[in-house]
């Protein structure tokens, strides 16, 4: 209980002191590299989705597959 209160206090202090002055640190023209196709590991949804399916079928782990995964609605 005391630990939770301490963490809440620290978060509140951080929010009230510094966060209001944080500004976006990159301009749109500084994001060219991030827009490069090499930065998209899920560029081919039909293929990526099939691969998620191969893993899901053989493992107990499911969920949080990423951009091409998600709503399987299944086992």
């Amino acid at each position: 209980m005391r630990q939770t209160a301490l963490i809440s206090l620290l978060i509140a202090a951080a929010l009230s002191s510094g966060c209001s002055s944080v500004q976006p640190w990159l301009k749109p023209y500084e994001r060219a590299r991030l827009a490069d196709p090499v930065m998209n590991p899920a560029a081919n949804p039909a293929s990526d989705n099939y691969m998620h399916h191969v893993h899901q079928a053989r493992e107990a782990m499911r969920g949080a597959e990423g951009s091409a995964g998600g709503g399987c609605g299944c086992n």
Binding site: P24, N40, R58, M61, G66, G70, N75
Partner: protein
């Protein structure tokens, strides 16, 4: 025979571009030929995906997917006969762009001779903080109907719900990070109606009885991802995923992937993935006697095991000036080599004292050939 691995019903294609400003997915036609060969399973088929946007506000998509299965896995050869079957999956979806938000709705249906699944999916994502941050939320609901070949009186149901939340953040000019969490909860008939567990009848012999699973299962999965732009124009992608569920299974995986362009037209991709999981609370390779406990499983997907994947891909893109409506075309080939090593699932094709058979392992090869038109 029911394909428990083939239940994928609906899929989301929305968030691919969400690390940057909100944009609708590209207009494209994908024709995929997929093949899985390993562990006695031979599964292949096509997947066709078409997507088209209108007025830069709405994008619609449709996907048609087929698995043609020829099954002689260790489960099949030790308790049934090899079989062939086909699974067909159809899904449609629509995405709507409104300012810095994208809303997505989709529906999926999957059918095989002894199984049918329907599902609906809703997702939304919102960019803020100068488009450096994207928050995404999602919900899915699925309805399964389970039948058993040769038994017309058998019909069961299961309902599934998924809750998703994700946050992606541009960290530097070269680095994007994201974290995602998904809770899945199932209720209903979650067994495979054909699978059996084995139990000792004497020190030197065993018999089989049907598996028995709980009627509910709830799981949590969290994934942390980082993508880094290397100094020589290449993308390095890392992923760590951790999982636990109410059946007592704990698992985690990590993956590294490199995307390296060569010249203007070629791309080479490599990946390595490692996966480990513990067994379910009610799993055993060999139970000490019949009805040894309330719940019984001998599904190797619920056993303790580890697996690795090494993958290699090559892609080529091209275009011609006289192509009017088509902007470019692409051809991709990927080959992935899987290895599975089981720690408490034994190969009972070997006749010896029960419980001392060799541990099972197998390799598999997955091949994907993709042709794409962008327009």
């Amino acid at each position: 025979m029911q394909l428990m691995w083939g239940l994928r019903v609906g899929v989301l294609w929305l968030l691919t571009a969400s690390a940057l400003a909100a944009v609708l997915p590209e207009d494209r036609l994908d024709v995929l030929r997929h093949a899985y060969d390993g562990g006695g399973m031979d599964i292949k088929g096509p997947s066709v995906l078409v997507r088209k946007s209108f007025a830069d506000k709405v994008s619609v998509r449709a996907n048609y997917y087929v698995d043609k299965v020829s099954a002689a896995s260790i489960d099949v050869v030790t308790s049934a006969s090899p079989y062939s079957e086909e699974r067909t999956e159809k899904s449609v979806g629509i995405d709507y762009l409104a300012g810095k938000a994208i809303y997505s709705l989709s529906y999926g249906n999957s059918e095989e001779s002894d199984f049918e699944a329907n599902s609906v999916h809703f997702d939304m994502s919102q960019d803020f903080f100068g488009d450096l941050t994207t928050l995404s939320l999602g919900y899915s609901k699925g309805w399964d109907e389970v039948f058993r070949t040769g038994d017309n009186s058998f019909a069961e149901e299961a309902d599934r719900q998924h809750f998703r939340i994700g946050l992606s953040q541009v960290l530097t000019k070269n680095l994007i990070g994201s974290i995602g969490h998904e809770l899945i909860t199932d209720e209903g008939y979650l067994n495979n109606p054909y699978r059996s567990v084995r139990y000792l009848t004497s020190p030197n012999s065993y018999s089989f009885e049907p598996e028995r699973y709980p009627n509910t299962r709830t799981s949590d999965a969290t994934a942390l991802r980082l993508s880094y732009y290397l100094p020589w124009r290449a993308g390095l992608h890392g992923e760590y995923r951790i999982y636990s569920d109410s059946w007592g299974v704990d698992a985690n995986s990590w993956q590294l992937q490199l995307i390296q362009p060569i010249g203007q037209s070629w791309t080479v991709e490599t990946r390595y993935r490692s996966y480990q999981q513990g067994d379910a609370d009610f799993y055993a390779d060999l139970f000490p006697f019949q009805n040894a406990q309330n719940f019984l499983a001998r599904d190797k997907e619920l056993s303790e095991f580890s697996s690795t994947v090494i993958g290699l891909g090559v892609g080529f893109q091209f275009s011609k000036p006289n192509w009017n409506t088509i902007s470019k075309a692409g051809l991709h080939l990927w080959v992935d080599r899987f290895n599975f090593d089981y720690d408490n699932f034994r190969d009972i094709r070997v006749q010896t004292t029960p419980g001392t058979e060799p541990l099972y392992s197998f390799d598999a090869t997955v091949t994907r050939l993709l042709f794409t038109l962008w327009y």
